[in-house]
Symmetry: C2
Subunit: 374 residues, 2 copies
């Protein structure tokens, strides 16, 4: 099984490299230096840190250091591994590889490199007579559309997060702190095979649920509190991202109405998803419902975002998103209404865009009558 | 208590801003735009995301969006809060603040900004007739020297990690997976008040301990395995970072010798620490012991690194580090010897540099006879 899975990962990586090389040719670039760890992993399989991947027409070299040599050899069937010497600067290592592979021109990715690193690399490469210019097309773009293997891993990341949450909510009781509940949720995800939470788990009780990105605190959960959970798991490098709100004991009438409105908005957003639709259109479908319900001003963020190796990646579902969606994209749909000092409601599911609409990959209950804890 | 602590955090931030403004004057800059979230937090108290801090001689503005407005108002007593409109680009928001505050020249930090973001901001600021140039001195530099409040928080992050590890090791048994043990360790840290692990916790059993940055897998811990732990906690935004190796049942004679050598190297490194010493000198003190013992080639990384809001920050203890240390710096001391296919030993403590040497802040046992589990 393991070797079969490795072989299929190897062929997926070969397909990605082929796409990247086609893009390089269109850009008239000889080679591209990938510096963003997410892209390095996507095009090589490497899971370590502080390493660059240099992809050229006929070669593919992972430039790493002694801490990762052994790991890289095991993880990267499609790449040669170059181990940088201790005193060797990254730019000198890239120049050494360029020289050995006879590369006269290397592209960098302006969105993945700091001004300082770009300058340092440019200096070393200039000394080695290698041109170093920005590539036109972001090599991370193809990551938007997931292949079947990636969707399967995202599904596992969702199942893991769902099972962990169900367990945590049934265990949770008044008197526990937000932080304790978040710790339990993270533990339950990792016990089920997650390498960690997809981002810092949010557990926000009572009025704190009105902070869209609250961090868990020592605040205790009380009866009559609403509790907002925003959490996800990392499984084999891919992430899930879900939000649910539960009510401890009673549902205040005001939030019963807000909840129904957010849920209706979320369903409208999901119904609007599909290949060819723009992120703006999908956002508008959900937003219209919430604006009509009188809470447009309290929906202070975009409707959703792409999900994969990063928790926030392209595409974006927001008022500013003009690009059309494509089948195979995985996005969150997560409208929210926040009433400062009182509380907030957000409902989030993960959806696979298809030609005819979408498939909702997550499956936790969200009807209001299921969200009340006894 | 809370308000007293807040007041003292406010005065610490005021002192940091004062230092930063002095640095700005030396650089002949009117204002600096902080984009690295770690620096934004250090100079404002803000713990959210996607927000910049614009520090000028007479003003200090946190530029955020609707998700964080409420949180920013609560967390940043020393900064005004500017909420960016949904369709407003970050550069347009910075330009709007610059106009309102009559700033004609803003500096950026080349190490904290990507080429792409720098270009986008430059475009918006050019349109508003604001100069935008790189600052000479990194505003993050003062973070190296910790004030007493910061050291106290780092101590709490260390105590938290230590207590969680002691609990986890006494609970651990043969048959459990690396991942399960890592999940338990993270849970025990969070139960004790950590907001999360300081980095992805490493639990590497048997030969996998020879991978200096191994991720926990489904491999089960067996009798006669050695198990390497590298872990830390985040407490109130500050991190700890520790490494220990334990032996399940028996200690193979080969690793008994390697362990003694690494420990002797670590002690030599700790003894060499002190204000005025260079990172290179301290590294050399530890490395010499390991080279003399015949394992110099297997010590594939630097001796240590600064620790604080980031898990890796300046100063560096390595063969290339020429800068002198100063009292108040907090560094890890963590030599390691890795024998691919067999196993690895690394021992890591966190130390506060003082004028007369150092204070070792971490206190877990490390003598070999204490590292064998029955």
């Amino acid at each position: 099984m393991a070797s079969k899975r490795q072989a299929s990962a190897g062929s997926a990586i070969a397909a990605r490299l082929k796409r990247l090389r086609r893009q390089l040719r269109e850009d008239r670039a000889t080679a591209v230096l990938l510096t963003n760890p997410v892209n390095v992993g996507y095009f090589s399989g490497f899971t370590g840190e502080d390493s660059y991947l240099l992809v050229a027409a006929r070669s593919n070299v992972l430039i790493t250091d002694g801490r990762f040599t052994e790991q890289a050899a095991g993880e990267c069937p499609c790449a040669a591994v170059f181990t940088r010497k201790k005193a060797q600067k990254m730019g000198e290592a890239v120049a050494a590889v360029a020289k050995r592979r006879r590369l006269e021109h290397i592209g960098y990715v302006p969105a993945s490199i700091t001004v300082a690193v770009q300058k340092a690399l440019a200096k070393s490469l200039r000394a080695a007579k290698v041109r170093f210019t920005a590539v036109k097309t972001d090599p991370g773009l193809p990551r938007q559309v997931k292949d079947a293997g990636e969707v399967a891993v995202i599904r596992r990341a969702i199942r893991c997060a769902e099972a962990a949450w169900t367990e945590t909510v049934s265990w949770m009781a008044a008197g526990m702190t937000e932080r304790q509940v978040a710790a339990k949720l993270d533990y339950e995800m990792m016990r089920r095979g997650a390498s960690g939470p997809a981002f810092e788990t949010i557990v926000a009780a009572g009025p704190r649920s009105s902070l869209p990105h609250a961090r868990p605190t020592g605040r205790r959960i009380r009866r009559r509190d609403m509790v907002l959970f925003d959490w996800g798991a990392i499984v084999d490098g891919y992430r899930s991202d879900l939000t649910r709100v539960v009510f401890v004991g009673t549902i205040p009438p005001r939030f019963s109405a807000v909840y129904a409105l957010v849920l209706a908005g979320q369903r409208a957003g999901i119904a609007a998803l599909g290949a060819g639709k723009t992120g703006r259109e999908v956002d508008a479908a959900a937003r219209e419902v919430i604006v009509d319900g009188g809470y447009g001003e309290q929906f202070v963020h975009g409707l959703g975002h792409g999900l994969g190796r990063s928790v926030h990646e392209r595409p974006v579902l927001a008022t500013t998103a003009a690009a059309p969606l494509a089948a195979g994209m995985v996005v969150t749909v997560e409208p929210g209404v926040y009433l400062p000092g009182a509380g907030g409601v957000r409902i989030e599911d993960d959806c696979l865009v298809t030609d005819s609409g979408c498939r909702v990959l997550s499956a936790l209950p969200k009807d209001l009558d299921r969200m009340r804890l006894a």
